[in-house]
């Protein structure tokens, strides 16, 4: 059964529609990540779940109970803010116990809970410091501690890592993941960082302009994006989108790419969807992840789905773990993810293998996946 349900949710600020009919449900213990570019409404959605914003229409259910009219403190949630929002006039222990004090928890119990959570987060030596005496990473930990003391039904995270430097961000990401595994509490997490979304989520919801683009597991979002926006937004480097033509050749569906020299390259489709049939003879957009194009020899077991083509290498960008190559394909610059030890050099013509098993097609007009 779904633990958190957002049902046809709408939010308007005056005449501006910020959320347009959002439907999401998360099972108990799930990790929902709301992702999208800035201004897409993801933080507003989180605030409506928290109760910090009212909703215009639709409803929110937590553990089967409609919470639309409940005050934030009555929803049994805890929130970690982007700025951490630690009370500047209180020390760490006070910051963590303030909520319990407001709920009338006896002092002895408050101290006990603070001590337990502080031990869990290894912030025992910081308990008597003021927030201004803490580093960014320590403040982040305290903000998490303040949420943890509550033992809520749902944790809400509003871009909690965006103020940390890159190294610390990766560390804290792992930390959050471990905490989630250990506590099993349902989480709603807002970020604009698609890597955070992919690594943390059990369910990803992609938003754009207040419209839900797709909800699904990280693998679904990555492999079968619902539309061009999702395909482009998720993944780094993002998915290559190449204009092409859908044709039938020898009884099978093929995608034809126009080359710079006027010739066409044909790539067969594996398991084309029924919708694709209607597009035979028409323009489509071919979506290929960078890792679907490489220059390794055809010795792999799935070699049958890999198809050779020649392309001009424009530049190569070694990242250490692998090398990205910009190649010319279908009149577009396309990114290929090659092995780090690849022999590819800028300016040369080279033979690449394209793995068509994960290729996706989009309607160029509606931008929806076929």
């Amino acid at each position: 059964m779904s633990f958190l349900v957002v049902n046809d949710l709408e939010k308007r600020f005056g005449a501006v529609e910020v959320l347009k009919g959002i439907d999401i449900s998360v099972p108990r213990g799930g990790f929902l990540v709301l992702v999208g570019p800035s201004g897409c409404g993801k933080s507003t959605l989180l605030n409506t779940i928290a109760g910090l914003e009212t909703v215009t229409a639709g409803e929110i259910l937590i553990d089967g109970v409609r919470v639309n009219e409940l005050h934030p403190s009555k929803r049994d949630i805890a929130m970690v803010f982007q700025s951490y929002a630690l009370y500047p006039n209180m020390n760490v222990a006070k910051n963590m116990s303030f909520g319990m004090e407001m709920r009338g928890v006896p002092k002895a119990e408050r101290q006990q809970v603070v001590a337990r959570v502080a031990a869990m987060l290894q912030i025992e030596d910081l308990l008597h410091r003021k927030p201004s005496q803490l580093s960014g990473g320590q403040r982040q930990r305290v903000a998490m501690g303040r949420a943890l003391v509550r033992d809520p039904k749902i944790f809400l995270f509003d871009e909690p890592l965006s103020n940390l430097d890159a190294k610390l961000r990766v560390e804290m990401r792992t930390e959050i993941q471990k905490l989630h595994q250990r506590l099993g509490t349902t989480v709603v997490y807002v970020t604009h960082d698609q890597i955070e979304a992919m690594t943390l989520a059990t369910v990803i919801a992609v938003l754009k302009d207040g419209v839900l683009q797709q909800v699904g597991s990280p693998a679904e979002i990555y492999n079968t994006p619902a539309n061009i926006f999702v395909a482009d937004f998720m993944g780094s480097p993002s998915m290559n989108l190449v204009p092409a033509r859908l044709d039938r050749a020898n009884g099978a569906l093929v995608v034809s790419l126009k080359r710079a020299d006027g010739s066409t390259t044909m790539l067969p489709l594996h398991e084309p969807s029924a919708a694709a049939e209607a597009f035979i003879g028409r323009e489509v957009i071919l979506g290929l992840r960078p890792e679907s194009i490489d220059d390794a020899p055809v010795a792999d077991a799935d070699g049958a789905q890999r198809h050779p083509l020649e392309a001009h290498v424009e530049v190569t960008q070694p990242t250490g773990a692998d090398t990205l190559a910009m190649i010319r394909l279908g009149g577009r610059e396309v990114v290929a993810r090659l092995r780090a030890e690849t022999g590819a050099r800028a300016g040369e013509r080279r033979r690449f293998m394209v793995d068509m098993s994960k290729a996706v097609l989009f309607d160029p007009e509606t931008e929806e996946r076929l």
């Binding site: 403190s73 929002a85 009370y87 407001m102 709920r103």
Partner: protein, 293 residues
């Protein structure tokens, strides 16, 4: 100290520096001279003032003018000195400052953290209060005080000063709280703190600098006010400023300059004290939030 030079935007040479200090010194003397004249003459006998140099130090130091100004001088009809009026001023200033500061803080809190439709208009109208000349409100205010039945009382004066000061105190606190992170209020809401609890547990403890600014501002303005004091007070509620005027401008008898000087200094002491005690926060508070850091 050479290792830790004072931070400054402009490096200046020795000569420029000397010129700057010379100019500052001239201005300091210029502004301190009246105080000096008042001081030295308040310790002189009246004969010595009449016969001699205003700038000279007293030949014979006497405290008599001070004692007379404090509790013997003829003010109006009674020979009470300034003491009862001093007390009147205290009874008027303290509640007026406390109430106007608290209300200003509450206004600032609501106008920045509990925004409502038309809040900027409300704020603009409150700002308007800062620009209304005192004289315009005299007659309407007299009617209001009469209607409320507190005309001529200390509480009437408190009300006048609270109403008049609210524009300024609201402006100070609104601008201070505008820079106060709203996420803190949200976090406190989730923690279950009520409207007032958030105010006095989260915002007020962080408002030290702006409270000091507001208190100094309000204290000086209300203490120094003459017009409202002269217009809305009775014999038993007249503030210090009105009594000082009555003392100095009485047209009967000899002009006792030494007593007048002593009385004027007595009237200025509270505001001076407030400046000396809290003044260093004043500049700091006015600058707070101007530069991020």
């Amino acid at each position: 100290m050479a290792a830790n030079p004072i931070e400054t935007a402009v490096r200046t040479g020795r000569l420029t520096r000397a010129l700057i200090y010379a100019a500052l010194l001239v201005f300091a003397v210029y502004y301190l001279l009246p105080l000096f004249v008042m001081m030295v003459n308040s310790f002189k006998e009246l004969d010595e003032i009449r016969g001699g140099n205003m700038l000279a130090l007293p030949e014979l130091v006497t405290l008599a003018p001070w004692i007379k100004a404090w509790n013997q001088a003829q003010i109006g009809v009674q020979p009470t000195g300034l003491a009862p009026y001093f007390l009147n001023s205290i009874k008027m200033v303290v509640p007026a400052v406390v109430i106007s500061t608290l209300l200003g803080a509450l206004n600032g809190y609501v106008l920045t953290k509990w925004r409502f439709r038309g809040d900027t208009l409300v704020f603009a109208l409150m700002l308007f209060a800062c620009f209304i000349p005192f004289q315009i409100v005299l007659i309407p205010m007299a009617r209001v005080l009469g209607f409320l039945g507190i005309a001529g009382t200390t509480w009437g004066l408190v009300l006048v000063h609270v109403v008049y000061g609210l524009g300024f105190t609201t402006l100070f606190f609104r601008n201070y709280y505008a820079a106060f992170p709203t996420e803190l209020v949200k976090a406190a809401q989730i923690d279950g703190a009520s409207f007032l609890r958030i105010f006095y547990r989260i915002l007020l403890p962080s408002s030290g600098p702006i409270i000091v600014v507001t208190v100094i501002w309000q204290f000086t303005n209300i203490w120094n006010d003459f017009l409202f004091g002269a217009s809305f007070s009775d014999f038993d509620s007249q503030p210090m400023t009105v009594a000082l005027n009555n003392l100095v401008s009485s047209s009967t008898g000899v002009k006792e300059y030494n007593v007048h000087f002593a009385g004027a200094i007595l009237a200025a002491i509270p505001t001076l004290l407030v400046y000396i005690v809290a003044g260093r926060y004043f500049v700091r508070g006015l600058m707070a939030g101007a530069v991020k850091g």
